[in-house]
């Protein structure tokens, strides 16, 4: 189950996608077929299918883990490299490193996470336009917590 993607993980992915597909697509699905390289998944329905996954999730009584501020969508984000306090600007009163609408380049500093009195610069891993700042200035963040959301650059931005 380590690192590299084995057939196990590929199948996991295929099944997940199949489930999601069927849940999200309206109407009675008759056949689903997925393949990833050597791995294939195929499902065919006999009659009209009800959309089942929703009630299943609804009945889930377990409290969801307290994941704070995880971005709901698949848009690219810049995440906290350490647990600490997030600062949007280099010092109190200064202008923020980035604001919504700004275009960032890979390696550009977008904020600071202070941990144990150490200031850790947070840099963007990819280029993009800032569409949302997900954590307020001065708030605590967990490791890997999304800090800002980006959208990929279009031709116009580049």
């Amino acid at each position: 189950m380590s690192a590299d993607t084995g057939p196990e993980e590929v199948l996991d992915g295929l099944s997940r996608h199949a489930r999601k597909l069927v849940a999200e697509l309206a109407g009675p699905v008759r056949r689903v077929r997925l393949r990833s390289g050597e791995t294939v998944l195929e499902v065919e329905w006999h009659g009209p299918a009800r959309p089942a996954p929703a009630p299943r999730a609804e009945a889930e009584p377990v409290p969801a883990p307290q994941v704070q501020g995880v971005a709901a969508t698949d848009r690219p984000v810049v995440r906290a490299p350490v647990v600490g306090t997030f600062y949007r600007s280099p010092e109190p009163g200064a202008a923020p490193f980035v604001a919504v609408g700004d275009v960032v380049r890979p390696g550009q500093v977008i904020g600071i996470v202070e941990a144990m009195k150490l200031m850790n610069e947070v840099t963007a891993g990819q280029a993009g336009r800032v569409v949302e700042v997900l954590v307020e200035d001065g708030k605590p963040v967990e490791y890997d917590q999304p800090l800002i959301a980006l959208e990929p650059l279009t031709g116009r931005d580049a």
């Binding site: 189950m1 883990p65 647990v83 941990a115 605590p140 967990e142 490791y143």
Partner: protein, 501 residues
């Protein structure tokens, strides 16, 4: 008592500490790696903080991240569990500097006891019986050969900075010694940043007996009887019981009183374990003191009725000890089996995977500590300990029968998942074990039925977890067969010079 405690661990021991906090009305912060984001302790915690990626070094061993998480959440104390940072004096000091109570002894006591040579020097002064053999560190292979010739083979080469079953090599003849000496030094340098080693006679057939002590910050201390942990494979305990069986009551009393005296003499506080090797003549040899809660603490809880994690928290909060020695009454026998996700048929190789089926045993006098559940993905990142099954009965035979019953009904299954349960049940059927006459050689005998048993060196250290709770049941010679006085050197340097980095 604290309002909020941060639990700096994972798995069953994080759950164990969380349960104690709940019972005492203390709020819990569980810090965790990315790999454990959906784990049971995280799901049950009042608050959680993700402190790093799966790798322990960047999460459960990341002192700065843990202290930062405590600061964020306003936790007043940190319980380190076992393994990971539980015996790291530097971490304890960092906690203190940041106004956090570390649940454990004072940093300087931890530092002194972390170095085996220092620990034994201190215990010798306190009057504890030291093992025969050298504890002087040996700068050259020639020195090692001299000591080995004096104490007789087999000997064991050990890193002064080692512990918990790490940094040791058994040597059967003078011809093997120079290479073993060099290898152990090199390994110790890598593992501990400290290549000092010493040599002692190796005694395979003894019992590992340890004493649970509990001391407060006001100079009070009690002992909670003995545990036998002789069922070990490569220095990893598999089955533990309380009290130690088939020893004379006088031996048990001496062990317990000696252990408590030793702990009090160095200003120990909290829950600790003083480990001994006991030979056939019931002579006791001090091994080391552990400054943390042990994996096997449940058996002591079951025979005394005292919740050790409750008491750790009370002591850390400054409360004077709530039990006097005369309140501690042992009752019956408790036996614990560690259930590791390892394949006994493939040399105990880790066998993690997702648990499609998981149904722990229940019923009378049966306790299970586990973070496992149906659907849980046993991670390859951490220790293989999945569950502990502990049972109690009025007598040892009843306890062993009960443990076998409980293990037989424990259902754990998933693709690729194997556990040590079948092997543990083999141990339970062994005649010497049933009679309580077994020694630390038992597992090797079961795994290698023929005569010549090669005692393997400890596996290379893996990342944290219960791994770090491995023991040192290996060394120690009996009295010299030729009747000479055993060599017992005291290290020249004081505690700080011996500080384990």
């Amino acid at each position: 008592m604290f309002d909020k405690v941060l639990i700096a661990n994972r798995g069953e021991i994080a759950l164990r500490v969380l349960r104690a906090c709940r019972e005492l009305g203390v709020r819990t912060v569980v810090v965790h790696s990315s790999a454990d984001a959906d784990s049971l302790p995280v799901r049950l915690a009042d608050e959680t903080v993700r402190i790093g990626p799966a790798a322990s070094r960047q999460s459960y061993l990341n002192a700065a991240a843990i202290v930062e998480a405590a600061r964020q959440t306003g936790a007043q104390a940190v319980h380190p569990g076992y393994g990971f940072l539980s015996e790291d004096a530097d971490f304890a000091e960092i906690c203190a500097e940041n106004g956090l109570t570390f649940v454990g002894p004072p940093p300087q006591v931890m530092a002194a006891l972390a170095d085996k040579s220092t620990a034994r020097a201190l215990m010798s002064r306190a009057g504890l019986p030291l093992p025969p053999g050298s504890v002087r560190t040996l700068p050259t292979a020639a020195d090692a050969l001299d000591v080995a010739a004096e104490v007789g083979y087999p000997v064991i080469v050990k890193a002064a900075a080692g512990g918990g079953g790490r940094g040791m090599t058994v040597v059967r003849s003078a011809a093997e010694l120079p290479r073993a000496y060099a290898r152990t030094r090199a390994a110790a340098q890598v593992a501990f940043g400290d290549d000092r080693v010493y040599v002692e006679r190796y005694l395979a057939d003894a019992r590992h007996v340890e004493v649970q002590v509990l001391c407060d910050g006001h100079g009070n201390g009690i002992h909670l009887g003995t545990r036998d942990c002789s069922v070990q494979r490569r220095h990893q305990k598999l089955i533990e019981e309380a009290p130690a069986p088939a020893l004379r009551p006088a031996t048990l009393d001496t062990l317990a009183e000696t252990a408590l005296r030793g702990a009090l003499s160095v200003g120990f506080t909290g829950a600790g374990t003083v480990e001994f090797l006991v030979d056939e003549a019931e002579r006791c040899h001090f091994l080391e003191i552990n400054c943390r809660i042990q994996v096997e603490h449940p058996v002591t809880e079951m025979v005394t009725g005292i919740d050790l994690v409750h008491e750790q928290l009370h002591v850390a909060a400054g409360t004077p000890l709530r039990w006097r020695q005369e309140d501690v009454r042992l009752r019956g026998v408790a036996v614990e089996c560690r259930v590791n996700v390892e394949d006994p048929d493939r040399d105990f190789a880790p066998a993690p995977g997702r648990l499609d089926h998981f149904r722990p045993p229940g019923g009378p006098f049966t306790r299970v500590d586990t973070h496992g559940h149906v659907g849980y993905l046993v991670s390859p990142h951490y220790d293989s300990l999945l569950a502990k099954v502990a049972v109690w009965a009025p007598d040892r035979d009843g306890a062993l029968d009960r443990l076998d019953r409980a293990l037989a009904e424990f259902e754990i299954a998933g693709p690729g998942v194997r556990t040590t349960i079948p092997f543990a049940r083999r141990v339970l059927r062994d005649a010497a074990f049933r009679a309580g006459r077994h020694t630390t050689g038992l597992v090797d005998r079961l795994l290698n039925p023929p005569a010549a048993v090669a005692v393997p060196v400890a596996a290379p250290p893996r990342d944290g977890g219960a791994d770090a709770d491995r023991t040192v049941p290996d060394i120690r010679a009996d009295a010299d067969p030729a009747g000479r006085t055993p060599v017992t050197a005291v290290p020249a340097a004081g505690p700080t010079a011996w500080r384990n980095p």
